[in-house]
Symmetry: C2
Subunit: 151 residues, 2 copies
DNA sequence: CTCTATGCAAATAATTTGCAAGCAC
DNA sequence: GTGCTTGCAAATTATTTGCATAGAG
C-alpha cells in the first residue's frame, strides 16, 4: 500500500452538507466530542465515554461513528503526525487549521485558510484543481513565550 | 498518548544544516531515495533495497536511517494521512509541499510555501512563533482533468 | 579495545474487519 | 422480517524496542 492515500480527514475546499440521520452511536460520539473543547482522538472519546456512562458504545463504534461524522461534514479530522488522528466538531461544511504550541500543547484555530487564498493562483499556475488539503502549524504560543517549561 | 505529538517530519521554518557523517546504512538509504523520484515509504525503500542487492540493510536500519537523515535535513518526511510516512530527498535545510493528484497519484512540488508567506502575519496577530508546519494539497492534476480513470 | 551500527525477533498501538447478535422500522 | 448498527475478538500494519553481535576507528 504505497501509492494509496485516504482523504476522509482532509478539508475540502467546498463540502456537501447533509442533515441529521445519525445513528445512536454517532450521536453519542458527537455529543462527547462537543463537550471536549480540545482535539480528541478516537481512543480519547472512547475512554471518556467509558467513564461517564455504563452503556457506552464500543471502540469499534466510536471509530465507525467518527468516520461517518467526518463524511457528513459534522466533524473534522486533524492529523498531528503522530499515529493518532484527532477529531473536532465543526460547523457543517466548514474547516479550520490549528496553531499548536510545542510547549503547552494547546491548539488555537486559525481564522483564515491560506490554501484557499492561493487556490486560484495554483489552478492558474499548475492547472491543479484543489479538492482538499492538510495544514497544521506548530510553534510556540504567546503564553509560552520565554517560558522554559516542558510538557 | 493523547497530548503528545512528534515533529520529526515537519518542515521547520529554518533548519540547521550539518554535513556528512552518514552511517553506511544511511548512505544506502539516501542513495535509494535519490533514485526514486517519487515519494517513498520506509517499506518501499526496504523492498527496493531487498531486490537490488544481496546485502541490503534490514528494515530497522531503514527506519533508523530515515530518522537520522530527516534530523540532518537531507530528507523530508511527508505525511499523506494514511498510516505510512513518505520520504523525499531535499536540499539540506529546504522543504517543499506537494500537489497530489487523487486520480493518478502523482505529486508535484509547490514552488512556494504559503505558511512562510503568512508567518509574520501570524506572529503579529496571534503572537504565535512558527517552528514547523505540515501542508499537503490534494486534488486533480492538469493531466487528469476530464479523465474518469480511477487509480 | 570501545563504542556505534545493525539485525532479528518480539513488543506496541492505532485502526480495521469478520461475524454473530441486537435493534429499528 | 429485513437490514442497518453494534460489539467483541482477531487480524492488520507501520513503527519501535530489546538485546546480542558485527563492524569501525
Amino acid at each position: 500500500m504505497s501509492s494509496e492515500h485516504s482523504h476522509s480527514h482532509h478539508m475540502p475546499a467546498t463540502k456537501p452538507v447533509k442533515r441529521n440521520g445519525l445513528t445512536k452511536g454517532a450521536q453519542v460520539v458527537l455529543d462527547a466530542l462537543e463537550q471536549v473543547k480540545e482535539l480528541a482522538s478516537a481512543q480519547d472519546i472512547y475512554g471518556r465515554l467509558r467513564q461517564g456512562a455504563d452503556k457506552a458504545p464500543g471502540l469499534t463504534t466510536v471509530y465507525r461513528s467518527l468516520e461517518s461524522l467526518v463524511a457528513m461534514g459534522y466533524v473534522q479530522s486533524v492529523d498531528l503526525g503522530d499515529g493518532e488522528k484527532r477529531y473536532e466538531v465543526v460547523n457543517p461544511g466548514e474547516h479550520h487549521h490549528h496553531l499548536i504550541c510545542d510547549k503547552c500543547g494547546e491548539s488555537n484555530h486559525l481564522d483564515l485558510c491560506m490554501v484557499e487564498e492561493f487556490e486560484e493562483a495554483i489552478r492558474a499556475k499548475y492547472g491543479f484543481q484543489i479538492k482538499s488539503h492538510v495544514l497544521e502549524i506548530f510553534g510556540v504560543c504567546s503564553r509560552c513565550h520565554g517560558h522554559s517549561k516542558k510538557i
